[in-house]
Amino acid sequence: MEIRDSLIRGSVMEQYIRQIGYIKLNGFPGGLCSDLAEITGASESLTVWNTRQDNGVMGETVCESGPGDELLIKVPFAGATLTIRLLFYLREPWMPPDMSFSDIQFLSRISTEDLEDQVPALNNWNCSEDDIIAQLLHQLLQLYKKYQLEKLDDDEVLQFEYRSLLKTLKIGEGDIEILVNSPGHNTSSLLVRLPLSLQDVPPVLIDANPGSATSLLQNEGVFVPKLYLSPRVESLIGGANTLALPAVPPGTCLLDYVERVLELLEEKVRKAVLCFETRKQFIAQVLCQFGCAVMEYDAERFSKVVLMFEVKDFHFLTFITLGQLFPQFAAEAKYMAWVRYKGNPTRHNKYAHRMTCKHMVATSKWAITRWEADMHRKPTGVGVDSKMWLVLQQAPKIVLQSLYHNSPREPYSKEYSDQKYSPQWTPEEMVRNVRDVILSNVSSFQMSSIRTN
């Protein structure tokens, strides 16, 4: 009998492990931030708070649970964390688990009828199904959402904002999570999945990051917005922490603000696609003018082209690199370099920031000179351009590299900047200018490469 018992318990344990494995494989069911959910097994006996006793009264009990009988699930919800504890009876596997929640009011507000209706897994606990725990968690989360929405009736303003968001953004109830006066806080918080479409983005820019493209805006209390972006979106427009969310003037309506953030993100996506197209045109022009000298080029993102040239019998490599955000505002480049340095103060990031500052100084001087020249020609009126040249772009990076000399471990190389670069040029002119930069620096490069060896 003992052996049979342990065999049965063994197979129950296997099934239980399979059910947990199912959730880990398929992801936590439901929830806007489900990829951040945590599932852990607890061990040792512990005090389980806030369980409904048999007599209906809420209280605490101490449970003696064996290792692996209990699951602790932490689900991000509307910016806070909902913790669900499930206590399984592995000796009586037909019994559904006991449950408790970190939101102590939740269970007390939910009726038995609600549980029966909305969480059918409890009454139909089929312990041999691999996805039964996943089903239970999904149903519990939906019930929790419903519970929060019912609380909205007590907060007219928030309810109005919720409905306006649904209507104006044309999103579904599954795209918003609301926490009304969360436990321990007197504030409500809201998490909305923004309908940011990446439909028109060339797949190559986002394919490296599988998974959904999600942008989530969280608002806590009276207006503390936070933005979360999935890796797929971040790879396209930059990290969420590098995007400056617009300031919130007093009296701002939530809907207006959310729309503004969505517009900001859409603009970023448009810019990223424009950058990609511009890089493509530039590389095409390089191939057009120097196709017979090409070594290699980035045929997916068009960020780099390497050529070999010969000037007066001296052969050398030329690396032309376009930044991912080429073309890009000089000021924006400087800001992003500063944010990167502040987040990670390495020497490389410090150097990169210093370079963007130098470029900004050059940009400002150029802009002033250009503005003055424009003023002399014609200050105002018909025929004066829109001053779009003020939007300066980041020039391509040009590096010459030796075929003959190492210094000491790598081939000798030197970077050359392009002071005359102008965004008004056509790609053809940009490439001709790159050629001029190379030609004017080749002999000094040759001299220094020989000297270094």
């Binding site: 057009c288 003018q289 070594m295 290699e296 045929a299 790598e410």
Partner: protein, 274 residues
């Protein structure tokens, strides 16, 4: 100007084929190069996929082998110069794209697979450092070389190679250094033919030889090596004890086989005037 219409080059770019629904497979098949008087067809998209490069180094030293003499009067053996040139090739290729991998084969009595594919050039460089030249053998059997290569690699299988970008391509670069010994397929050409017909296998040759004369077979050997280029896409280069030219050729060999022009059409001179 090399080309008047950049958009035709864009049509040939793999990214366009993948990202826009408008381009059809037939466009990829029809991308041909009109260079000079020769039309050679490309059968693979022009994607800069990682290369797996097999460097085959001939370590045979023949009688009467001469050295490289530099401008400052210093002299270096042929093997030393080729090691140095390959070192710079490895470093530059790695700088272009760190995904490229290299393997090392030594050609002497029979070819030896000295180092398997690695994308760390220093591993190959340290093997190269250890190489020493040896007395030349009387034969050079190319069948053994390509048998060895065929055993070590597995060519990508693409259902539609004209459109689907391959995960990688294989390129063999043979650095052949003998002026007296004609390399031959003593065991037949079947394996070689099988390799060379794959759109993802490329062969380049750099022939380093003595000054051609009646005493040696340089010209015959060079003609034979040129004959190995059956597709029209190989680079077969030769140099005779000119260190600069040797390094320049290694520069040409940096070019990615899917994106480089044919050898006849390379033109590196940079002019200031259009």
């Amino acid at each position: 100007m090399f080309c008047d219409n950049p958009s035709s080059l864009i049509l040939g770019m793999a990214a366009e084929e993948r990202s826009s629904g408008g381009s059809s497979p037939s466009e990829a098949l029809e991308v041909t190069e009109q260079f000079g008087s020769v039309t050679v067809e490309r059968h693979v998209p022009r994607i800069n996929c990682p290369e797996h490069i097999i460097l085959v180094v001939d370590v045979c030293r023949e009688d009467g082998n001469t050295s490289y003499k530099l401008a400052d009067g210093s002299k270096f053996s042929s093997l030393y110069m080729v090691k140095r040139a390959i070192t710079l090739f490895l470093q530059n290729k790695h700088a272009i794209d760190s995904r490229h991998k290299f393997a090392l084969v030594v050609l002497h009595e029979s070819p030896i697979w000295l180092h398997d594919f690695t994308n760390n050039p220093r591993e190959i460089m340290s093997e190269l450092d250890e190489l020493e030249d040896a007395v030349a053998t009387s034969r050079c059997d190319l069948s053994l070389l390509f048998d060895l290569i065929a055993r070590q690699i597995s060519l990508p299988q693409c259902s539609n190679p004209a459109v689907a970008p391959p995960p990688c391509v294989f390129r063999t670069i043979v650095f052949y250094g003998r002026s007296q010994c004609l390399p031959q397929f003593l065991g037949g050409k079947a394996v070689f033919t099988h390799l060379i017909q794959s759109p993802h296998f490329f062969l380049d040759v750099l022939y380093m030889h003595e000054a051609p004369s009646d005493e040696n077979k340089c010209e015959g050997i060079f003609d034979l090596l040129c004959g190995l280029d059956e597709s029209g896409w190989s680079y077969v280069l030769e140099v005779s004890r000119n260190a600069t030219k040797l390094h320049n050729h290694c520069g040409s060999l940096l070019a990615h086989p899917l994106q480089r022009p044919t050898q006849k059409d390379v033109h590196y001179t940079l002019n200031g005037v259009d």
